[in-house]
């Protein structure tokens, strides 16, 4: 008779295991990689994604696209995570890390199907990864001297930007990015680079403000009467509401006598006036506050030829603090010249259809603002993402001043190296090393596909060059031929590659080591499960 079935999991729980599970996970990861594969490299194309709210994003940045794809397949989200980690850690190379990981998995798939134990693969891959990293470190070229360093940074930024929408103006922007990063303090805080977007104008009108710029805040009557240009002003940064208002929200007064009435009113006014007077006495010419500055205060300041702006966003205020010095005050009772910031010039200027306030030549000068211009909002948004990548790269490269050649050169060299090394290995691990080595070739290969070049031809040329000791031979997409990318100044910080290789290898090992997925059923409203047969 039939044995009573033992029910272990809730009905509807998906439980997949074994080799098939590994394979289907690998397939899923490859599909994810396919989605962003075509964005790689200077000829990579963009993706336009409209989310359910109808917001449009056009991007070329792997991490951004994967984030927007909203991936639910459990194993495939590993790919999203490595892209994110690359984004956080290095800021660029998000596409290449995903493509690399997918290729490694694809190379591992036949072994798994043939019944190789995943752990063997994992061990071999990890070892090969270590070998690759040590070779990478060996290959990396150290840059010395401030002049050379700057040049290196510009080139790294240009390499990053070459795959973005702004590639035509990459020289312009890479100079800008490097200048921006150079302004920053020792620990290169990213927050101190403000990026402001103003639609309209051409990209070339974008500029780097050595200081802080922000959009004119909402203003009350009297604002236009304030002077808009100062030389060497003192800047008071406040976190105080300068408005006529109830001092305490829940207070109630009982006034017996009519005469007291005037006294109360006067008292309220005097509180405000005292504050204003103190600010004025401290010598500040510009008053900025995170909280609103009311009309009375605006007019009062206008009367005394001072400039004020309320409701300044927190990050702008922080940047101002970093740029001009001074501290953000929460009370004016202690205000004096010592807590005020200083800058060389302050002015208001029309940028596109907005008026912007500029603070330049700041005393501490550790913050800067990139003012981006461009045709459409999406355009600027993508420019911002691209510049963010470039900034991250420059920051990284500045701290870690060794570089390698891009355009697939370093990948090919590592591939060649690993292949040679694999031949020294006895046992079946050799195959795994070989597979690992081959997977590096996906980067130049994909670069070729995206550029519409004959990948096989190119790859063969590359292999040939690398075998003949041309260690920096890579693909130059703009020239459409194989050439020495070190000479051609296609440079990338070695850190980017290092992180990408490690992250990709780890992701592969992770996916290979999963042999069972248990997924609880979704709420009834949810869609179909991945992997379940679709009902016709």
């Amino acid at each position: 008779m039939m044995a009573p079935p033992i029910i272990l999991l809730k009905d509807g729980t998906e439980n997949k295991q074994g080799k098939n599970q590994i394979i289907s996970n690998i397939n899923a990861c490859c599909v994810v990689a396919d989605a962003i594969r075509t964005t790689l490299g200077p000829r990579g194309l963009d993706k336009l994604i409209v989310n359910s709210k109808g917001e449009t994003t056009i991007s070329n940045d792997g991490a951004t696209i994967l984030k927007l794809l909203d991936i639910v397949y459990p194993a495939a989200s590993v790919m999203v995570d490595i892209a994110k980690s690359q984004d956080c850690e290095v800021g660029d190379g998000t596409t290449s890390v995903v493509v690399l990981a997918a290729e490694m998995m694809k190379r591992a798939k036949p072994f798994v199907e043939d019944g190789v134990h995943p752990q063997l693969l994992i061990r071999a891959f990890s070892k090969a990864c270590e070998a690759a990293i040590s070779k990478l470190n060996e290959l990396a070229v150290k840059i010395d001297g401030p002049e050379a360093l700057r040049e290196m940074l510009v080139k790294c930024a240009a390499t990053t930007l070459s795959s973005k929408l702004v590639s035509q103006e990459r020289d312009f922007f890479s100079e800008m990015v490097v200048d921006a990063v150079n302004i920053l303090a020792e620990d290169l805080p990213l927050k101190m680079i403000g990026i402001k977007k103003v639609s309209g104008g051409s990209m070339m009108e974008s500029c780097l403000v050595r200081g802080v710029a922000f959009q004119k805040a909402f203003s009350y009557a009297g604002f236009e009467m304030q002077p808009k240009h100062y030389k060497d002003p003192l800047v008071a940064l406040l976190n105080i509401e300068l408005e006529l208002k109830a001092e305490k929200d829940n207070a109630e007064m009982r006034i017996k006598d009519v005469k007291d009435y005037q006294a109360v009113v006067d008292a309220e006014w005097n509180i405000l006036y005292e504050k204003l007077q103190k600010i004025h006495d401290s010598g500040a010419k510009i008053v900025l506050s995170k909280l609103p500055i009311g009309d009375v205060a605006t007019q009062w300041f206008a009367d005394r030829d001072m400039f004020c702006a309320g409701r300044i966003p927190q990050d702008d205020l922080e940047r101002l603090m970093a740029a001009c010095g001074g501290t953000v005050l929460t009370t004016v009772s202690q205000i004096d010249a010592s807590v005020l910031g200083k800058c060389e010039t302050f002015y208001e200027k029309q940028v596109g259809s907005e008026r912007y306030n500029f603070f330049e030549g700041c005393s501490k000068a550790q913050a800067c603002t990139l003012l981006l211009r461009g045709g459409a909002d999406q355009f600027i948004a993508e420019t911002e993402r691209s510049l963010h990548d470039a900034i991250m790269i420059v920051r990284r490269a500045k701290k870690n001043d060794s570089i390698v050649a891009g355009g697939g050169a370093i990948e090919m060299e590592l591939s060649t190296y690993l292949r040679n090394k694999a031949k020294e290995i006895t046992g079946k691990e050799q195959f795994f090393w070989m597979a690992y080595a081959r997977s590096f070739e996906i980067i130049p290969q994909q670069l070729c596909y995206n550029a519409g070049l004959d990948a096989i031809d190119m790859l063969n040329k590359l292999r040939h060059r690398h075998a003949k000791d041309g260690k920096w031979a890579g693909i130059n997409i703009h020239e459409e031929k194989v050439m020495d990318n070190y000479e051609a100044c296609v440079w990338e910080p070695s850190l980017v590659k290092k992180n990408a290789i490690i992250a990709a290898t780890e992701a592969v090992c992770l996916v290979l080591s999963i042999d069972q997925t248990v997924k609880n059923p979704r709420a009834p409203s949810g869609g179909t499960m991945p992997g379940l047969p679709q009902q016709m």
């Binding site: 039939m2 044995a3 098939n20 394979i23 989605a35 075509t38 000829r43 194309l45 336009l48 409209v50 989310n51 794809l69 909203d70 991936i71 639910v72 397949y73 929408l165 035509q168 639609s199 309209g200 051409s202 009557a221 009297g222 236009e224 009467m225 208002k245 109830a246 207070a251 109630e252 007064m253 006034i255 009519v258 009435y261 109360v264 008292a267 006014w269 009309d295 009375v296 007019q299 009367d303 029309q350 596109g352 259809s353 461009g374 045709g375 459409a376 909002d377 999406q378 355009f379 993508e382 596909y449 550029a451 519409g452 990948a455 096989i456 869609g527 179909t528 991945p530 992997g531 047969p533």
Partner: protein
């Protein structure tokens, strides 16, 4: 996807057996031409040597087959299940040899829903009958067709009862065994039998849509009560050695072999080979495949990808890795697509060329809408907003804004024209038309197979060249010359509704800008220009006031209507007893208290008025109101006052009159008063419309333009036109170089770019030339809108420009008899033209760079 593949499979039975094939050879329906083409195709399917067609034979098959043999002793009947799509190939010969040679046997053809029964049922049964198999039953376990199952049950019972028992023991129950190759539906058959006979709904044995679900010989399942009958489910067993690769391919096609163990590309190739050989060209239609049949799987896959957007980078032929990916996707039509992203099925996805083409179409639709609005003879568009508000305009930005475009890429165009509007304020139509023209050219190049980014690169290069040309042909403009400025403003106003009194408006615009312009910093603050309008009167009645006009009157009708040399107190505090902001309550307990309060209020008023009077003010402008009593007192003390003056106006007033805004009466001093030469009430028409104008102010930087017109729409349109004109003037103040309008500048650029194109290396050359063609669209549209023959006008214009080397020649839209734009005085600022070209190029680049679009499906991308 599934449905398509099923259809495909249904139409073509993948059986290699010539017997069946010959019998059915009078089938298909395709045209002679196809057959003719197909006759040249390969005769034989040869698997590449590298392909290992030893097929999937996992360990469990051998082990379990032994076990099945062991169970034979207790089995009375063997039911062999097979896939109806391959009725002959793939049957495991071992079954016959070792299992049913000595037992009664039924052959069940499962999945009959996937073939054309009328066509194939007869021949297949005929074939088997000749081979000595009598009992053939056709079923469909997916739909659980009752008659088919009853048929099967009946046959089973018949056989069981008729044939002699092999079990000597006196057993009352019967036992059957279900055998077959993997994934033909053995488990499904058992479950559906059980459902049909015992009425059990839930599955007794696990089933799945892929091979290898059942891997053990199962416990027996009761399927019939009378007589008591049990069946054994067994795993599918294949023979380890197939005769040929072809057989393996067939099995793989029906998904009877684990997908991951076969090379998908070969399977797809085999499918194509088979379809062609059997003359079934329905795949052409199914995959929306243009052109005739094809024998090259790579080409077919490429085409399928192109038409169905499966992959984006399919343009590049000859790369093996990509192909596997496409093969996979084609194959997934037969298997199960797996879900990677959330609500994948609810997303619309466009990739590759299709995405580009659809974007280009969207943009062209938008630009075609605007095209007829270009130029002085351009026509207006009337738009009705959802709440019934009517707008008539030919200003590109406004049209785009009101059109409420839904399509995500068309939205880019809206933003494009908006950003031109924000930056320059003029040429919003031109920029959209240019972008549309560029994309139209790009589409042509895409069709030739040029990489989109190369096109974009070419456009960028060409754009730089065009900009350089513009700089070269630009003339400096005498900003100081008011007359010339007015002429410029006239060009801008020429295409607008106000062109009836064009001169008047041009003067207004120029004067307004010049009075607020800061020539030294080249900055013009538009916030200092107030544009106001009132319905009534003619457009010609519009006036420009060097000062402020506010839509308010004196608070008391008997106050003087005109004040000369006014001293103005600008107050932002109300004429009423001051109130603290803290919540308060005044308790009045007696009549005396009340009287005291009244007294206090009155005294406060009087002090206030006295304070104002003491400073020597002759007019009070108050941001807030005051009640009638205060009004009366003011009148009584002969202090004219205006109440409820808006915040921005107060500010403008303060700037114009050099006064200070005073928040408290106590702070009022004579220095803080503003001064104005004349303050008077203006009366409009017969209606009692009154406004207060404050003129002859010490500071002329605040000005007002006051527009009159027949109806609100005209006034609004006039405002927009003026804004455009003022922008032009502003741009001249910013940068005093100009180019000539009427398409002259575009034509000149187009000529230079076209000439330069031949010197460019590489594919960019084509894009370069296309850019020149796109530039010519502007004069072309101008000519078209003016009722000229566009091609004729353009070609003669080009010839003339070349012959005379005169970049000032353009289209004579207004039929003034000359096409020298310098004499016609049609000029545009260099800034605006440069911005137009570079913005359009930028947006085109952005659109060309997109190759993958994911949109939630409910958004219909309405255009």
């Amino acid at each position: 996807m599934h449905a398509i593949s099923r259809k495909l499979l249904t139409r073509s039975v993948f059986d290699g057996s010539n017997a069946v094939y010959k019998m059915c050879s009078n089938q298909p329906s395709s045209s002679e031409a196809h057959h003719k083409v197909a006759s040249n195709f390969r005769e034989e399917f040869v698997l590449p040597k590298s392909c290992d067609f030893r097929i999937w034979f996992p360990m469990h098959m051998a082990v379990q087959f032994k076990k099945m043999e062991g169970k034979m002793r207790s089995v009375d009947l063997v039911i062999e299940v097979h896939d109806a799509r391959i009725p002959i190939t793939g049957r495991n010969p071992l079954f016959f040899e070792q299992l049913y040679a000595v037992r009664p046997h039924i052959l069940v053809m499962n999945k009959m829903d996937l073939i054309d029964l009328t066509k194939y049922k007869g021949p297949v049964e005929e074939y088997y009958r000749r081979n000595g198999i009598e009992k053939i039953i056709w079923t469909d376990c997916k739909r659980r067709l009752n008659y088919a199952l009853k048929d099967l049950c009946g046959t089973m019972v018949d056989i069981l009862q008729e044939t002699p028992r092999f079990n000597r023991s006196v057993k009352t129950e019967y036992q059957a065994m279900v055998v077959g190759i993997p994934n033909v539906g053995k488990s499904s058959l058992i479950n559906s039998l059980r459902g049909a006979t015992l009425g059990h709904k839930h599955a007794a044995v696990q089933e799945g849509a892929r091979p290898g679900v059942t891997v053990r010989v199962q416990n027996r399942v009761r399927i019939l009560d009378k007589p008591p009958t049990y069946v054994l489910d067994t795993p599918g067993v294949l023979t380890p050695h197939q005769k040929s690769g072809e057989d393996a391919m067939k099995l793989a096609l029906c998904d009877l072999i684990l997908e991951s163990t076969t090379n998908l590309q070969y399977v797809a190739d085999y499918l194509l080979y088979w379809l062609n050989r059997t003359g079934d060209f329905s795949y052409l239609e199914l995959c929306r495949f243009e052109g005739g049949p094809c024998d090259d799987i790579n080409k077919v896959l490429l085409k399928i990808c192109q038409t169905q957007n499966l992959r984006s980078r399919c343009m590049i032929a000859g790369n093996s890795c990509e192909m596997t990916a496409t093969g996979h996707l084609v194959f997934d039509e037969f298997g199960q697509p797996f879900i990677v992203t959330r609500e994948q099925d609810k997303q619309k996805r466009l990739t590759g060329l299709d995405a580009l083409k659809s974007h280009i179409l969207a943009v062209r639709t938008v630009s075609n809408t605007l095209r007829t609005s270009l130029g002085p003879r351009g026509l207006d568009k009337l738009m009705v907003s959802p709440d019934g508000e009517v707008t008539i305009t030919n200003d590109g930005a406004t049209i785009m804004d009101k059109m409420d475009v839904q399509h995500h890429v068309a939205k880019l165009m809206v933003e494009l024209s908006k950003s031109q509007d924000a930056e320059i304020g003029d040429g919003t139509t031109g920029v959209v038309v240019l972008a549309g023209a560029l994309l139209e050219e790009a589409e042509r190049l895409l069709d030739r197979g040029i990489h989109p980014l190369k096109i974009a690169d070419g456009f960028d290069l060409a754009c730089k060249k065009a900009l350089a040309t513009l700089e070269k042909i630009a003339d400096p403009f005498p900003v100081e010359d008011r007359e010339r400025l007015i002429e410029t403003a006239e060009t801008s106003l020429g295409s607008k509704i106000v062109n009836r009194s064009i001169r008047h408006f041009a003067e207004i615009a120029v004067d307004a800008v010049l009075s607020v312009a800061d020539i030294s910093t080249k900055d013009v603050n538009f916030e200092l220009i107030k544009v106001d309008g009132k319905v009534g009167g003619k457009l010609e009645d519009s006036i420009f006031v060097k000062g402020i006009v506010i839509d308010k009157t004196m608070s008391h009708p008997q106050m003087p209507k005109e004040i000369k040399d006014a001293k103005i107190a600008i107050l932002t505090c109300p004429f009423e007893p001051p109130k603290p902001k803290t919540k308060h309550k005044l308790d009045i307990t007696s009549a005396e208290d009340f009287a005291a309060l009244r007294q206090y209020e009155r005294e406060t008023f009087e002090t206030m008025i006295k304070q104002v009077k003491d400073t020597g003010a002759s007019l009070v402008l108050c941001q807030w109101g005051f009640d009638d009593e205060a009004n009366h007192l003011l009148h009584h003390y002969e202090l004219p006052a205006v109440r409820w003056v808006g915040g921005p106006e107060i500010e403008l007033l303060a700037i114009a009159t050099n006064g200070r805004i005073v928040p408290r009466f106590a702070e009022l001093t004579p220095e803080k008063l503003g001064k104005a030469g004349v303050v008077k009430e203006i009366v409009f028409g017969t209606a009692r419309d009154r406004m207060l104008s404050i003129q002859e102010c010490p500071n002329n930087r605040a000005v007002t333009i006051f527009i009159r017109g027949g109806n609100k729409m005209i006034i609004e349109e006039a405002k927009r036109s003026l804004h455009d004109a003022m922008c032009v003037i502003r741009n001249l103040v910013k940068d005093n170089r100009i180019v000539y309008g009427g398409g002259a500048a575009e034509t000149a650029c187009a000529l230079v770019v076209a000439r330069a194109a031949s010197k460019i290396h590489g594919v960019e050359q084509y894009a370069f030339r296309a850019f020149a063609d796109a530039l010519e669209q502007i004069p072309m549209a101008l000519a078209e809108n003016s009722g000229l023959a566009p091609i004729e006008a353009l070609s003669s214009l080009k010839a003339e420009q070349l012959a005379k080397a005169n970049p000032r020649l353009g289209i004579d839209c207004l039929f003034k008899g000359t096409n020298d734009m310098k004499t016609q005085k049609v000029i545009e600022t260099l800034l605006s033209k440069k911005e137009q070209i570079s913005l359009a190029t930028q947006v085109v680049r952005m659109i060309l760079k997109i190759d993958d679009v994911r949109v939630p499906d409910d958004e219909n991308g309405g255009m």
